[in-house]
């Protein structure tokens, strides 16, 4: 260490090498000090807000599970995850020993009740034209009402320009930000479920509590297309607009390749810029489709025009999973959907509990939403947003592996919303949105004990009226008197290297390790119930 201090001008890489070279446990303390100096030099700002979730089993969502690790964040962004971290002075600590730490969940097509927090029950629209679940018309027929049925009228309908698209998106975001109610009970319920990011009218919104700043996470990332069999007119239009957009892009490419500045830029006349954005890959094309034929059509359309479709519903997706996989589709499914196939058909069809599993195995990115994407306080329906993890659990029942099930309510929806660079997993540099649970997140018994959003504790089960009275929080392992949880964690790790070694020696497939654990837990729970 002295040597290191004497050579402060060595490149950081060298220092890093030297640290790795040093016997880890013997020099743990000094390492900490050196690191501390390093940190201090780097971050001297007193106003920095440090937050640490200490000692939990961290399920990062990237496949890695770090037992008894600490997640440290600075000003709402994850700084570091690991063992034996140096916690700067004034770091707020959350003791998560004996509990699990997961990334915050992402809820697609959530009811506007979540962030608007109306007092009176808001009538649920029976159809969200963008990505919402259509409970009344699972086959997507509700789209029919959007069609005027008048070809002439449809022809002359305004075709949005680039500027229109931007302005519309901007207004939408402004409206969502300006109507955000940070005290809404529905917001607290979302946080109690572990949801930290929600889609509101195609736009990703961070569920912040007690503040309204920076809730808007970015522009909308999906554009809804109608390609329903029951609506031939809009089907034709969609194809036509895609063709025009594709043609425009071709002409544009040619024009650019030519490099002749004097020549006029290709005309945008009649080209719907939303479709151009879809073809450029700037936004996803979203469809509502459940029937096998429609799904196939969408898959073919996507392959022909080379875009990635997001298919909401996707009930019969399991029958055409390989086609959807080849088309690079995203599917937003509800594993508990129950609908028999038509008696007249010979082919396989209808809903299947295995839908998510089969789609996933064919390379379709599967996101899960519950049947009702709102919160129902009058009689828990068990199918509302409060049961988002449970819904993902049903996908596991159908054969989806646990890792993919967690992804289906974190990473995949984050990708669909275009915010996977900020949320969806626990990684350094991402937002400090984490939930701390008292067990496997996807198990029906598990409660979210704490929710952290942007490095701030926003939900504590024992402090809210909803679930505080149900199964009080398990007691934490006792600390030595006078010890802070953070310190204890550091000491434990230093004194008990055996544990760490054991973990390192464990089979390399840590993902499977995680799944095994989860399965064990679940098995135990079921056994108990069985005996009762």
């Amino acid at each position: 260490m002295k040597l290191l201090k004497m050579l402060p001008f060595l490149s950081t890489a060298l220092v890093g090498l030297a640290w790795f070279g040093a016997p880890a446990h013997a020099y743990a303390l000094q390492d900490d000090e050196a690191e501390a100096e390093d940190e201090e030099a780097e971050d001297e700002d007193e106003s920095d807000a440090w937050y640490a979730i200490v000692g939990g089993d961290v399920y990062t969502g990237t496949g890695a599970v770090l037992r008894g690790a600490t997640v440290l964040s600075k000003n709402g962004k994850i700084k570091e995850i690991g063992h034996d971290l140096f916690l700067p002075e004034g770091t707020e600590k959350l003791d998560a020993r004996g509990m699990r730490v997961y990334p915050g969940l992402v809820a697609l097509s959530a009811s506007s009740r979540l962030t608007k927090g109306l007092f009176q029950a808001e009538p649920e629209p029976d159809f969200d034209p963008h990505l919402g679940v259509d409970n009344l018309h699972p086959d997507g027929r509700a789209n029919a009402h959007l069609d005027t049925g008048n070809e002439e009228y449809d022809e002359v309908a305004d075709i949005p320009t680039d500027a229109d698209v931007l302005v519309e998106g901007q207004l939408l975001r402004q409206e969502i930000a300006d109507s955000f109610d940070p005290f809404s009970q529905y917001l607290v319920l979302a946080l109690s479920t572990g949801i930290t990011t929600a889609e509101q009218s195609d736009t990703p919104v961070k569920l912040k509590r007690d503040e309204i700043k920076d809730v808007d996470m970015g522009p909308k990332n999906v554009y809804s297309l109608n390609f329903s069999l029951s609506n031939p007119n809009s089907r034709r239009q969609t194809r036509e607009k895609l063709e025009k957009a594709s043609d425009y892009l071709r002409r544009m490419k040619a024009w650019e390749a030519e490099g002749d500045k004097d020549k006029k830029e290709p005309s945008k006349k009649g080209v719907d810029m939303n479709y151009v954005r879809v073809l450029r890959g700037e936004v996803f094309a979203a469809f509502n489709a459940n029937d096998r034929e429609e799904l196939l059509d969408i898959a073919h359309l996507a392959q022909r025009y080379r875009f990635r479709p997001v298919i909401n519903g996707c009930m019969e997706g399991w029958t055409v999973a390989s086609e959807l996989g080849r088309a690079g589709a995203y599917a937003i499914v509800t594993p508990r959907t129950r609908s028999p196939k038509s008696e007249e058909l010979v082919r396989p069809g209808g809903s299947s509990i295995e839908n998510a599993a089969i789609l996933h195995s064919h390379g379709v990115q599967v996101a899960v939403i519950p049947g009702n994407t709102s919160f129902e306080l009058n009689g828990m329906t068990g199918r509302d947003l409060l049961h988002l993890p449970v819904e993902a659990g049903f996908a596991i029942r159908g054969g989806l592996d646990e890792r993919a099930a967690l992804d289906s309510i974190t990473t995949i929806p984050a990708r669909i919303l275009g915010v996977d660079h900020r949320v969806g997993t626990l990684e350094a540099g991402k937002d400090m949105d984490a939930i701390i649970t008292d067990g496997d997140l996807l198990h029906y018994q598990t409660f979210v004990q704490y929710t952290v959003v942007d490095g701030k504790l926003v939900y504590d089960k024992e402090e809210e009226i909803f679930f505080a009275h149900i199964r009080p929080r398990p007691e934490l392992p006792a600390l030595d008197p006078g010890e802070e949880p953070g310190e204890a964690e550091a000491v434990v790790d230093e004194e008990a290297p055996a544990d760490e070694d054991a973990e390192e020696e464990a089979p390399p497939e840590s993902e499977d390790d995680d799944e095994g654990e989860g399965a064990d837990d679940q098995g135990a729970g079921e056994d108990d119930d069985g005996r009762l």
């Binding site: 608007k116 927090g117 007092f119 207004l171 402004q174 409206e175 930000a177 300006d178 109507s179 955000f180 109610d181 940070p182 005290f183 809404s184 009970q185 007690d210 503040e211 309204i212 306080l377 009226i465």
Partner: protein, 421 residues
Amino acid sequence: MNATLSLLCSLAIASSASADLLAIRVGRAETISQGTIEHAVLLVEDGKIVMVGEDLPIERGIPTVDRPDWVVTPGLVNCYSRLGLDSAAGNMFEPQVRAADELYPLQDVYRDVLETGTTTLGLYPPGTGIPGQALAVRPRGKTLDEMLIADSVYLKIMLESSAKSKKVLREAFEKVDEHDEKVAKALEKWEKAEEKRKKDSKKKKKGDDDDKSAEKGEDDGAKDDGPKEFEPPEPDAKVQPFIELREKRLRAMMRINKAGDYLHLLDVIENEKIDWFLRIPLRNDIDLFKIAERLGEAERLVVTDPSITLMPNTRRERNIPAELARAGVHVALIPRRDSVAGHKDWLQDVGELVARGMDRQAALAAVTLEPARAMGLEERLGSLDPGKDANLVFWNGDPFAPGTKIEAVMLEGAIVHGDVR
């Protein structure tokens, strides 16, 4: 002792100065500013309170009301009412409208409401959005002038959590900025013109023609040859109230619906240096308690209703006015219904809050001094202090207790209801 001496002195002066002097001895006075005074003596002269104290000796010869079983409070102030005014109006942006223009004196409601102990009313213009300016009146008088205490006591502004509502308010202040710019430009022009004029006058009549033509092109206001006062351009009538807000000649009543609205309101006006207070109607499921501490820290004034409400989505009761008062908020309470009957039940409803934990002094202030403060009349109304208007209500017992009746009401020194002799 000192108090007695000074009283004697002043009484001596007072008695020689005016025959309008009246001494009132009651069992208890709720002064608001100095708490409760037992065996209180008040001296009233020329419609003003001259002196308040405990058991003060009264000089012989001064007419005295001696009612040891009575309780006296300041006249009640309702700062948010539309008594005697028409109701309907829509959403609008009419900040220049004055409720004074629709006042119709000599209505029975004013006489009746005075008998409920309400000696001051703040009447606001109807409508949502930004509907205009309120006035403060005494509910007595044959003409507007006789009733008027102060005009334009506050500008009513409704704000809700929506892009549209926030935009309206934001733009209103932006218009003031635009106007300020216009004024600055005009001033610059005027200064230039003035300089030129001075130069020209030095040159005498040499360049007279040039001067005239140049000025015509530059400024219509500076056509005269002599030195001219700068006349800033007239602001738009709808911009004027917001200029007055910025200059603190007008106050704003921000009407919001829920806790979240408060953050959005701050988002818009945080950097505006204006006087403002809040009006938040209470209803079941309101989550106002979530911002009680923030309101308290900022020492905000909140005009609200004397109601017990339920916590959102529960059957748990909350006494939000009490919580606000405890957090340090200036709470003003208005009758639950804006009618004469509502004014009769007013103190009973407030008494209910007191019975459920609201601080008694805060509750008394909530119907007197705090609403007066809301209208910027706290120097003149709302407490029993020397120099303030002699608006007094005489009760036959604790004003918050059920069954207590009003024995008499004094408005600016004159008994307008009941008999004190």
